[in-house]
Amino acid sequence: MRRLYALLVTLVVLGISSVSQAAPPAEPAEAIVCRGTSAEGFSYEWGGECWCSTGCDPDLTSCSPGVCTPNPGFSGCPDCTHSGTYGADCSGFVSKAWQVPDPQPTDACDVTRYVAASFTSDHSYWNVVPMTSLQPADAVASSSHVILVIGYEDSYGEHEVVEAAGCTPGIIRHSRTFSSSYSGARRINLSDCVCSDGDQETEACGDCGTTQRTCENDCLWSPWSGCTGPDPTGAEAACSPDGGEGVCATGQRLCVAGWLTCQSASATTEICDGLDNDCDGVVDNGTPESLGEGFPCTGNCGVGLSECVDGVIHCMTPGGDTCDATDPDDNDGKGIGGCTCRAQSGPGSLPLIPFLVLLVLLGWRSRRK
C-alpha cells in the first residue's frame, strides 16, 4: 500500500507538472470552504481523498466515515490500517477541496491529487502567499502537512481550519495556529467579485444575536461581524445567577456574544456593611484591613480598637465593652451607658485622629512615669 501510494503520488506530481491540465473551476472562495467543511468527521485515510457531503455538511448517514487504526506499536500512518470506503489524508483532502488537478465530486475516490509539499511552492494552479494575508479557502502547507483555512484571522492571530490531521483525530475543524514551518498558498480562478457595493447580509446567531457582513470594494464580503444583540429590558432584565451568594445572588440578564446570560453583581472586597460583598457565603468575613478592624480608636468612654459588629464598626474598649449610647454600664460586655463613642464605619476610614490622640496619651503617660 505504501509503495503503491508513493508510486501513484510520484506519477501524479510528475504528470501534472509536465502536462498542462485544465484549470480548476472558477468559483468563489465560499465554494471551497463549503467543500472543506463537508469533510468534517470523516476518517483519515493515508492516500485517500473522498468523502460524502450534503451541501456544506458531511453526509455521515449515507456513507460510513471509515476508521483509521494505528498498527500495534505505532501512533500514526503510514503504519496504520484503514477500514471503510471513505477517508482522506491531508493533501488528498485539500486537493479535493480545491478541485485540483481536476474537478471531481467529493465522493470520487482514487483520483489524482497532490502531496503536501507540492503546496509550498508556486504552481500553475496556485500561488504562494504571505502567511500574514491568509484568507478563507487558502491552504497552509509544510513539507509534510497541508491545511485548509476557512476563516479570517481572529483577534489573537489564529485561524479556523479544516484538516485531515492524522489517523486518530481524522478530519477535524478547529481553531489553530501555524509555526513558521508553514507557508500560505492561494488557488487560482477564485471568482474575483461576489458582491456589489451596498450588499449586506444578516444572520441570526446564538439566542439573542445577529451577525452581519457587508460588501467591500464592490467585490468581496467582509468577515462576519461578532455576534451581538440588545440586552433585555424591564422585567426581562432581572435574574438570579446560579449559585450566586451574597451580593452576587442578584444579577442582570444581558445578551453577550449573542447569548443570553445572567450577569451577577460583581464580587468586591469584603467590607463591614452587613453584606457578603465577596460572595463567599459569609457576611463581613474580610481581613481586618478590609473591614477596618484593629485600628486604635477613642471616644467619650475611652481608648480601644475598632471591630466590625453586625455590619457596623464599633470602638471596643480593652475589656470588650463598646459604647452604643443605649446600654447601661452593667458589665454585660456591650457598653457603657450614656456615652457616644462609635467610630466612623466603613473601609478606608483610617481613624487617624484617634490614633494620634492615642499616641499623645501614651506619650503623656510615659512622661509622667
Binding site: W46, S155, T168, P169, R173, S179, G243, T261, Q263
Partner: protein
C-alpha cells in the same frame, strides 16, 4: 552629624523610598531582557514523551501543560495516552491514564481535580481526581459554544471552569464545585474579582489590551477610562500566544513577533516571543524575550503563568521537550 541633621537624613531617605517604586512604575522598562529562561526540566522524545512525525498529516508533541498550585507540572502526553504528573522538583509522581489520544489541553483545579479537554473528537471536558479517577465528563457544545473546535483556552478560576471561544468570549461550564451549571458568558478572558482581560491584534503590528469589569456596558466616561494600552515589539506582532494574570493581578502577555521576507516564498526572517508584564492598571513593568517559538509540532498551550509569578514555557527541541521558567524582577 547633629541630631537635627540625622532627622533630615531619615526624612529624605524615607521620601526617596516612597518615591522610588512610583518612579519605576511611571517609567517602564523600554528594553527587553534577552533569553534568560531557566531550564526546569528536559524530557527526551520517544523514551519519555510521545510524538508523531506527520507524513501527509499533522505532527504532534505534547499539546499542553499546566503548572500546579504546588509548583509541579502536568504534561499532556496525549500520544502515549497519559498525563505526566511531576512534582516541584521535576520528579515523576504518577502517570494519569487517558481514554483517548485526542485530548489537547490539561489543567488542574485547585487541589481538587485534573481537567483534560478534547475539543474536536469526543468534544468533552473530562474531570478526574488528582490520581486520575474519572469524576465527570461534560459535553462542550451548548449555550455559548456552537462548535467545540473553536474553544481557544481552558481557564480554571475560583468560581469554576471557563472555556474561551474564538478568543472572543468565555463560557463557564462548571461551577466552583465542579458541577455543570447554567452557563454564564462573559466577553474576553475572565479574571478574578469580576474583571475580564481583552487582547487583540490591532492590524498595525501591535496589540491592544484592556482590563474591564465583566460584561461592562460602555458609557463614554467608562470607555475612556478603560481604553487600555497598545503594545508594540521590535518586530510586528503576529499572534497573542498567551494572556493571563497572576494572583496579585499582574498581567502577562506573550506575543509572537515575526518578520517575513517580502518576496516569494515569504519565509520568516526573524521571530521570537516577547513577554510583557503589566500591573493591574496595565502599566508596563517589564519585558523579556524568548527565542523558543512554535515548531512544526502542533501545540495548543506553550506558556502558562505559574503560582510563583513566573512565566513557564513548554518548548520543543530536536531532542525533546524543554520546560523553562522566566523570572522577572519584583517591581
Amino acid at each position: 552629624m547633629s541630631k537635627q541633621a540625622r532627622w533630615w537624613t531619615v526624612i529624605l531617605l524615607a521620601c526617596a523610598v516612597w518615591i522610588m517604586p512610583l518612579t519605576a512604575q511611571a517609567n517602564p522598562s523600554s528594553s527587553s531582557t534577552p533569553g534568560q529562561g531557566e531550564p526546569w526540566l528536559f524530557l527526551p522524545w520517544d523514551d519519555t514523551v510521545g510524538r508523531i512525525l506527520g507524513n501527509e498529516a499533522d505532527s504532534e508533541g505534547p499539546k499542553s501543560f499546566a503548572v500546579k498550585p504546588d509548583g509541579g507540572v502536568l504534561l499532556l502526553d496525549q500520544v502515549n495516552l497519559r498525563v505526566i504528573d511531576l512534582d516541584s522538583d521535576g520528579e515523576l509522581i504518577r502517570y494519569i491514564a487517558l481514554p483517548a489520544a485526542t485530548f489537547d489541553d490539561v489543567e488542574q483545579y485547585q487541589d481538587r481535580a485534573v481537567l483534560v479537554l478534547d475539543r474536536v473528537v469526543a468534544r468533552t471536558l473530562l474531570v478526574m481526581d488528582l490520581v486520575g479517577t474519572p469524576l465527570a465528563e461534560v459535553p462542550l457544545e451548548g449555550r455559548g459554544i456552537d462548535h467545540s473546535g473553536l474553544v481557544t483556552a481552558m481557564l480554571p478560576r475560583s468560581d469554576g471552569i471557563w472555556l474561551e471561544v474564538g478568543h472572543r468570549h468565555s463560557v463557564k461550564v462548571l461551577d466552583r464545585h465542579l458541577q455543570p451549571c447554567t452557563r454564564q458568558i462573559v466577553m474576553g478572558r475572565p479574571m478574578e474579582h469580576g474583571y475580564s482581560l481583552h487582547g487583540a491584534l490591532d492590524g498595525h503590528g501591535g496589540v491592544t489590551l484592556r482590563r474591564t469589569p465583566q460584561n461592562h456596558r460602555a458609557t463614554t466616561a467608562l470607555t475612556t477610562a478603560l481604553s487600555g494600552v497598545t503594545l508594540t515589539g521590535q518586530a510586528p506582532i503576529r499572534r497573542i500566544v498567551w494572556l493571563d494574570e497572576d494572583a496579585d493581578g499582574a498581567v502577562y502577555a506573550v506575543l509572537h513577533e515575526a518578520v517575513f521576507a517580502a518576496a516569494t516564498p515569504f519565509r520568516v526572517q526573524q521571530e521570537r516571543y516577547r513577554m510583557v508584564i503589566l500591573d493591574e492598571q496595565l502599566q508596563e513593568l517589564e519585558r523579556l524575550e524568548s527565542p523558543w517559538v512554535l515548531t512544526l509540532y502542533n501545540q495548543r498551550v506553550e506558556m502558562r503563568v505559574g503560582p510563583d509569578r513566573r512565566l513557564w514555557q513548554m518548548a520543543f527541541t530536536d531532542d525533546g521537550v524543554l520546560i523553562l521558567r522566566w523570572e522577572w524582577r519584583t517591581p
